[in-house]
């Protein structure tokens, strides 16, 4: 891990202004702005009227303030488009995926061909849905994702984007703090909570807004 961490450090620091002083540190982290829509401005006004996922962008667990770099709050179209464009995205869902409405959205994303990592006990609800779904331990997954040589859950290669929802809040928050600090992988939370350790996140959402936001994400994904 030392070598990996050093490589990450070099890469993250190379040619970048001091992150201490930037006002929107997360945007600085977007290495490919052309490929990665930058937020509200890209979202259709109609959708914006219906739901706004950038409100209440404060850590859901009040004291979960990791440091100067916290996730940029985004509208659903952003992760939607990024998922659609990613070469090898991974959706992670956990023990809070079982609710019928939430599960239906996980299945819908899986049906577009995006691979799913079912952490915790999520597999019990996803295993029989005909998806590319794999059980893995979240803590181990965080460790493997930090390893550039890891070949992924199916051995076919690493991931360029990680998106997640439906995982115990503090648990996934801790797990992705490893990715934030020791990997180059882009991490987006599309959970109903604001996740400061992700690169991008929704704010804290009411249940109905959360479901509507997931639908907005799904709308952006290519149909199979």
């Amino acid at each position: 891990m030392t070598k990996i961490a050093q490589a990450v450090k070099r890469e993250k620091m190379a040619g970048k202004p001091s992150e201490k002083n930037v006002e929107k540190p997360v945007e600085k982290n977007l290495e490919k702005p052309s490929e990665m829509p930058s937020g509200k401005e890209e979202v259709k006004p109609a959708a914006e009227k219906v739901i706004d996922t950038t409100r209440s962008a404060v850590p859901f667990d009040t004291a979960n303030i990791p440091g100067p770099k916290m996730a940029r709050a985004v509208m659903p179209a952003v992760p939607g488009k990024m998922l659609a464009r990613a070469k090898r995205p991974l959706l992670i869902v956990g023990s809070e995926v079982h609710d019928t409405d939430v599960l239906a959205r996980a299945v819908a994303i899986g049906k577009t061909g995006i691979q799913i990592a079912a952490v915790g006990n999520a597999y019990t609800s996803l295993g029989d849905k005909g998806l590319d779904v794999h059980y893995i331990n979240m803590h181990a997954l965080a460790s493997y994702l930090c390893d550039p040589n890891w070949k992924g859950l199916d051995g076919k290669g690493g991931y360029d984007l990680v998106v997640f929802f439906g995982i115990t809040y503090y648990y996934v928050s801790q797990a992705i703090s490893a990715l934030k600090n020791f990997s180059n992988i882009k991490v987006i939370s599309i959970d109903k909570y604001y996740h400061p350790n992700a690169d991008m996140s929704f704010g804290n959402l009411k249940d109905d807004v959360f479901i509507a936001a997931l639908d907005e994400v799904i709308k952006e994904l290519p149909k199979r």
């Binding site: 331990n137 803590h139 503090y170 801790q174």
Partner: protein, 797 residues
């Protein structure tokens, strides 16, 4: 090479030599008759003596850091932003800082247990003398950790003096390494953290052995009686004394006084947290309320009339909370004094008057004899007064209704709650007369009181929960088999072989605190599932208490259903937090008694044996404290993997193996030094799981060891597959990795599983029903797996 240590141990005293009558010789210590042979290369290991072993572990089980803060504010250069593994002003990066945190946490925990041991040793030497013999039950290997680490075999409690001196010296060195401008390598920070963890095990062993030896606690007794446990067990009409913490010294005096004066039918006395464990070991009349999670809840109930604190796991607000209900707090240990006046030199009656009148909220009382006399007297006096006033923090029916109606469902309490509990929903249900959501919530609530500070409309949330849950609280009455102490040598002789060959699927050690992710009941459920599968369940501390909190349909607790011998399908309680040492030490006993491995000063060889051959796993499902982290880290250095609950990610460091990196799983064959690529066993050294459903198959998997014979492997594989199918609804993806031959496959499922292997590309000779191609390696009954080259008979080039 073997070292010889000539131990010079002498009884204290003075003597005069014949002919030299004017010369008097004073001796602090007398020489010992016996010569002790150190058998391994590292007696009294210094900070780096075991670094090579640590590196072997760290290279396979890479530290995984999950910082809670991306900053460092240890020195005045900072705060430094280390996000993305940047360096701070002193040059440390986030990885280094995270490893430094691991070291600090481990040192803190080790210091806590060792200081506890030191306090007890002072007190017991004063009372019984240095020459009081060690007596832990039917064992030749009386102090396995002491032998393995120090290279000595202690005979008397005085022999532990140099042991604690060693621990204290090492801990000072380790703490020094954490200062800014000292260690900078994360790998070496981790090696030091492992060292601290090992010292923690040693400190705990000293503490428990001396109290077992001097205070008459059970000695390797598999049939200890049951103790009552739960928030509903005490008669609140009687004066109630509650002792909180971990150190038996003060409660022992109280129990003795009550015994002498026949007061057990007049006064209720119980403990919270590990003090409770040791009180029941000391005197069968003592009872147990529960873990630290019950502390605030029980105080707020108003039932306690006197609170006695010693050390560890005592809430920082205990005095403040007690004061509101006019419950005097008597602090009996220098480490926790709350700014209370030191009344050690005052008369018992004077102190009682001041406390009963409310002139003082509590007292610091370091004269334990006085504590023993004062507490029962105080309880008898203040009890009736408090009860007449009906003091409780819980609202009455009318106020309860008003309070729940006030809730605006703003979610602020949920956001502050470490368990993210749906309090607003429960408030709404209660407003409609339905208390069930609150009753469910009560079990999941860890009683931290954070929610009280969040509510914008000033609802005392925890009090409301507790009021709503009164029905279930009254029924909270369980049974726990009293802490037995060590596992005796005869039990090891009987079971060691089954463990090493794998025919007992594993030893699961349930340890740690009550910070469970989804309620106390989970621990019961997990233990019930695993014990029915013949795992040996050993427990200690708060986990041991919580296991006894629930009953089956016939009204029986798990302790009543399963016996307490160290054999498969049994449920053991070793005792309090410091009794954790015996769980770790059991693996040393197996290595020594079953396999004849030398112990004295021979940590690396023993740990290597444990890692490769003993399917023991620690489960700290509700661990919260630095002590629990230190215990886990110590177990890791001894080759015992640990799984924590999801809150364990907030420890910020795990040791996770990468099964896809094949070379990480090379071991040597001790017979000739040849390299053998083995299955990832154990796959991790420290990891967390999100839910109990995920935990159970993971535990089964973590019990695989390279040394399993085919029968043992088939048994372990059966449980791994069945638990995964039962709780995750799937065949494990990696089950085949653990198959070395058709003999490793459970007989009942052999054919269908072999078909699955064929689908994976393995070659099967169906006529002979044999696997001809596919496994990583063959079963070899004489295989001597080791990670230490010097332990190989003949090292292959």
């Amino acid at each position: 090479m073997q070292d010889l240590i000539y131990q010079m141990k002498v009884k204290k005293g003075s003597f005069v030599i014949e002919g030299l009558e004017n010369v008097q010789i004073n001796i602090g210590k007398i020489t010992a008759e016996e010569e002790q042979v150190v058998e391994g290369p590292t007696p009294r290991p210094e900070i780096i003596s075991l670094r090579n072993w640590d590196y072997r572990l760290l290279d396979r089980y890479n530290p995984v850091y999950t910082p809670t803060s991306d900053m460092c504010d240890y020195c005045t250069y900072g705060k430094c932003d280390l996000t993305g593994n940047k360096e701070g002003a002193c040059g440390i990066d986030l990885e280094g800082q995270s490893a430094r945190q691991a070291l600090m946490t481990s040192v803190m925990g080790a210091a806590c247990h060792s200081a506890h041991g030191r306090h007890l040793l002072h007190y017991l030497i004063k009372k019984y003398g240095e020459d009081h013999p060690i007596d832990v039950g039917p064992s030749n290997l009386k102090a396995p950790l002491t032998e393995t680490i120090m290279g000595i075999q202690p005979q008397t409690i005085g022999d532990f003096l140099p042991v604690l001196e060693y621990v204290e010296e090492q801990l000072t060195q380790l703490l020094a390494a954490a200062n800014t401008g000292q260690e900078g390598s994360s790998r070496d920070f981790e090696s030091k953290a492992l060292h601290a963890g090992m010292l923690d095990l040693l400190g705990m062993e000293v503490a428990d052995i001396i109290q077992i030896s001097c205070m008459g606690l059970p000695k390797s007794d598999e049939k200890t009686p049951m103790a009552e446990i739960g928030m509903g067990i005490l008669d609140p009409k009687k004066p109630v004394v509650i002792c909180v913490g971990h150190n038996i010294a003060a409660p022992a005096y109280i129990l003795d006084y009550m015994d002498k004066n026949g007061q057990f039918d007049k006064i209720e006395i119980a403990g919270l947290c590990c003090t409770a464990q040791d009180m029941t070991r000391y005197n069968r009349n003592a009872k147990i309320i529960g873990s630290m999670s019950k502390e605030l809840k029980y105080i707020r109930s108003g039932i306690p009339d006197v609170l006695v604190t010693d050390e560890q796991c005592v809430r920082a607000d205990i005095l403040k909370e007690a004061k509101k209900l006019h419950i005097p707090v008597i602090a009996t240990n220098e480490k926790i004094t709350y700014g209370l006046p030191d009344r050690s030199n005052d008369s018992v009656d004077e102190i009682i008057d001041d406390l009963v009148s409310g002139k003082q909220d509590g007292a610091l009382l370091l004269d334990l004899e006085k504590v023993g006399e004062l507490i029962p007297k105080l309880a008898m006096k203040i009890g009736p007064i408090r009860k007449a006033k009906g003091l409780t923090a819980l609202p009455n029916e009318e106020d309860f209704k008003k309070l729940v109606a006030k809730c605006t469902k703003c979610l602020q309490c949920t956001r502050d709650c470490p368990q993210s509990l749906p309090i607003g929903d429960a408030m709404a249900a209660a407003a409609g007369g339905d208390l069930v959501p609150f009753e469910i919530l009560h079990d999941k609530c860890v009683g931290c009181g954070r929610c009280d500070f969040s509510c914008p409309v000033d609802i005392p949330v925890l009090n409301v929960i507790e009021k709503a849950a009164q029905r279930v609280i009254r029924e909270e009455k369980g049974k726990m088999r009293i802490g037995r102490g060590q596992i005796g040598d005869p039990e090891i002789r009987e079971e060691g072989r089954n463990l090493v060959l794998g025919t007992t699927p594993g030893v699961l050690a349930f340890v740690g605190c009550g910070n469970y992710p989804d309620g106390t009941k989970d621990v019961y459920d997990i233990v019930e599932e695993m014990i029915q599968r013949s795992y040996i369940i050993i427990s200690s501390g708060c986990a041991a208490m919580d296991i006894g909190m629930y009953k089956d349909k016939e009204g029986k607790t798990l302790y009543e259903r399963y016996p307490g011998r160290f054999i498969k399908g049994n449920l053991l309680n070793t005792g309090s937090c410091v009794s954790n040492a015996h769980i770790a030490a059991t693996t040393i006993k197996v290595a020594s008694i079953f396999a004849g491995r030398k112990t004295k000063g021979n940590w690396e060889e023993i740990a290597d044996y444990v890692l490769n051959r003993i399917g023991a796993v620690g489960i700290a499902w509700g661990a919260y404290s630095q002590k629990a982290f230190a215990i886990a880290t110590g177990c890791n250095r001894l080759g015992i993997p640990v799984v924590a609950g999801p809150h364990g990610t907030k420890y910020r460091r795990a040791f996770i193996g990468k099964p896809y990196r094949k070379d990480d799983w090379n071991v040597l064959d001790g017979r000739d030094g040849s390299v053998v690529n083995v299955e990832p066993a154990p796959e991790h050294l420290m990891i967390t799981a999100e839910t109990k459903e995920e935990l159970m198959p993971l535990l089964a998997k973590m019990c695989f060891r390279p040394s399993d014979n085919s029968l043992g492997r088939a048994i372990k594989l059966t449980h791994y597959i069945e638990l995964s199918e039962k709780y995750l609804k799937k065949m494990p993806d990696d089950w085949h990795v653990y198959v070395r031959s058709e003999q490793d496959i459970p007989v009942a499922k052999r054919e269908p599983l072999m078909k699955l292997l064929e689908e994976r590309g393995w070659k099967i000779d169906w006529e002979k029903k044999k696997i001809t191609e596919g496994p990583l390696r063959k079963v070899d009954v004489s295989f001597q797996p080791t990670n230490v080259p010097r332990l190989c008979k003949e090292v292959k080039k």
